[in-house]
């Protein structure tokens, strides 16, 4: 495995990667030691954690094994909102060197902070992510995550610089220029949201640029939103770009909580910094490895804003099987759904990812789509709008109606629901430059 620590032809040694291959017993020791430290730190410095632990009658000294994490109270996104902006910070502001914030779609954003050491850890896990996805210092990497308050842009940027790759800090948006930069600068790898890259593939086609023939982009790290295996196949077929899933969320550190290796069978979690649990979201009890549930993280080294049993709302399972890459840090299954993305239509749970899967089964390429939720006589209704592309268009009304029916049948096979599918004109669904907006919720507007 040592060979994997040597990066690129010039043989630059990255000891960071060695942590991915630590003997499991040693990894658990490190985790326990860090867990004890972070729990004391959170208990002493953050009122919310102290009050919740006191209410349960738990003291930091009660954490004697990794399993004892289960005795700790949970935290969640609403805790960040309720204590906005700095209520969960565990260090004086003088020690905080960076703030990031989420796009607060409902009300206030959530704010996260980093100490200088937190920034080092974050950079390190991103370097490990990049190395596991095969990025090298010889790569010219276009970073299309938004630079600014969003953790994606600056997070990846720091890691790419530490890797000594050539960074093109393109940020999001201005799609034609993105393609131009890739072409003119000889970009070999990219990072960004998968939905934005799908949009770029479309833009390149319009510009008459063939990703496989005209560009040198070989690999991409995609994250910040759940994306299906079908979308991965689409990206790879349409662009020839090998797509790796990087997982993260601002509340834990940002991107770099986990990342796929060359096996691309779910992200490895950097367990020496992030303690992972899967719980049943109803009973809140832990579930066995391999069983699906809600992903919960405890940060093991965060100083500015430690997270104790933070409920991510992401639905996945721990994959305990050893990975053929040799990493000892465990994988989780790729996240295709979030418990807060779910909606209930006629009593059936539906996730946007299921609609995406259904559309990809019908058409070779992923059409732009929008799920529209409305409420009629107190019941939630769902409609799926699908953009007709030139490739999908047939000179026959009957054939177009058949296409509409095939979409509806495919959705029905996956969700069990008969959902209205409407064909709409190309470009009529808004494109996003960051995270895709796949759902238009009109349930409040029309009741």
């Amino acid at each position: 495995m040592i060979s994997r620590l040597w990066n690129d032809l010039e043989g630059t040694f990255f000891p960071e990667s060695a942590l991915d291959f630590m003997p499991v017993e040693r990894l658990r020791e490190v985790q326990l030691q860090r867990l004890k430290t972070v729990v004391s730190h959170a208990y002493e410095r953050v009122a919310l954690f102290r009050e919740r632990m006191d209410a349960r009658g738990i003291k930091p000294a009660d954490i004697r094994s990794l399993e004892d994490v289960r005795r700790l109270p949970f935290s969640m996104k609403s805790d960040l909102r309720d204590t906005y902006p700095y209520g969960l910070f565990a260090v004086p502001m003088a020690e905080v060197v960076r703030l990031h914030a989420s796009s607060g779609t409902t009300g206030k954003p959530i704010v996260v902070g980093y100490t200088a050491q937190d920034m080092e850890v974050w950079k390190q896990v991103i370097v490990r992510s990049l190395l596991s996805a095969g990025y090298t210092r010889g790569d010219i990497v276009q970073n299309m995550y938004g630079y600014g308050l969003f953790t994606g842009g600056l997070g990846l940027h720091a890691g790419l610089e530490a890797l000594e790759a050539t960074v093109v800090p393109a940020s999001g948006g201005n799609s034609e220029r993105q393609i131009m930069l890739m072409k003119d600068f000889g970009v070999t790898a990219i990072c960004g949201t998968p939905s934005y890259f799908v949009h770029l593939i479309e833009v390149a086609q319009k510009l008459g640029i063939d990703f496989k023939r005209d560009l040198k982009v070989k690999r991409g790290l995609f994250g910040a939103e759940p994306w299906s295996d079908g979308l991965r196949r689409y990206i790879e077929d349409a662009s020839g770009v090998k797509a790796y899933d990087i997982y993260g969320l601002s509340e834990i550190v940002g991107p770099g909580v986990g990342c796929e290796c060359e096996c691309r069978d779910g992200p490895h979690i950097f367990e020496d910094h992030f303690l992972v649990e899967i719980i049943d979201p109803e009973t809140l009890e832990p579930v066995p490895d391999g069983q699906e549930g809600e992903l919960v993280f405890t940060t093991l080294s965060k100083q500015a804003m430690p997270a104790i049993r933070y409920r991510t709302r992401d639905i996945t399972a721990i994959d305990p099987r050893p990975c053929s890459c040799g990493r000892t840090i465990r994988r989780i299954r790729r996240i295709c759904r979030r418990s807060d993305d779910m909606f209930i239509i006629h009593g059936v749970n539906v996730f946007p990812s299921q609609i995406e899967t259904a559309l990809l089964r019908t058409e070779a390429s992923l059409p732009h789509y929008l799920i529209v939720l409305t409420r009629r006589s107190g019941l939630d209704q769902m409609e799926v709008r699908v953009e007709v592309t030139g490739e999908m268009l047939r000179d026959s009304v009957g054939a177009m109606e058949q296409l509409q029916k095939r979409f509806a049948r495919s959705i029905e096979q996956i969700t069990g629901l008969h959902i209205a599918v409407t064909l709409v004109q190309p470009g009529s669904i808004a494109r996003s430059e960051g995270k895709a907006k796949r759902v238009l919720d009109q349930r409040e507007a029309k009741s």
Partner: protein, 147 residues
């Protein structure tokens, strides 16, 4: 001779047809013939123009999905039974008409724009039956619109 027709997808929303027509007008594209098929939630507008490539390009640039298909322009005498006798000759050969639309010319004949399930076989059968098929050039040069 086959004629290149373009079909444009139209959402059934007010203003879509006029937006497309405006786009084509601004590009200086004259429509020789057209038909609109409606399927309730959407429609297909089929167009015959002198420059189908340009028509498709400008339509797509304006955000419309468009596709080409090959149709035949049958030139028939403009009198009762003109079409019936042609169709009667095609029927035994198992050729079927998907759709057709027509316009009359001042020269006194009628042009039937026809989409067959098998355009190549239909073309051969029609030529064998002595039906005059218009070339694209005939279709666009034959007459100037009267003012």
């Amino acid at each position: 001779m086959k004629i290149r027709q373009i079909s444009v997808f139209l959402e059934n929303k007010p203003g879509r047809l006029s937006a497309l027509c405006r786009t084509l007008a601004e590009a200086g594209i004259n429509l020789r013939a057209l038909t609109l098929s409606d399927a309730g939630e959407f429609g297909l507008l089929r167009l015959i123009t002198a420059d189908p490539d340009k028509a498709k390009r400008v339509s797509e640039a304006a955000g419309f999905a468009a596709t080409f298909s090959d149709v035949l322009a049958l030139c028939l005498p403009n009198r009762p039974g003109g079409l019936a006798s042609v169709l009667a000759q095609l029927e035994p050969q198992g050729l079927s008409v998907e759709y057709m639309y027509a316009f009359a010319r001042r020269t006194g004949d009628a042009v039937m724009i026809t989409c067959f399930d098998d355009v190549d076989r239909a073309m051969a059968a029609l030529q064998a039956a002595g039906v005059r098929l218009l070339e694209p050039a005939d279709l666009f040069a034959a007459e100037q619109p009267s003012v």
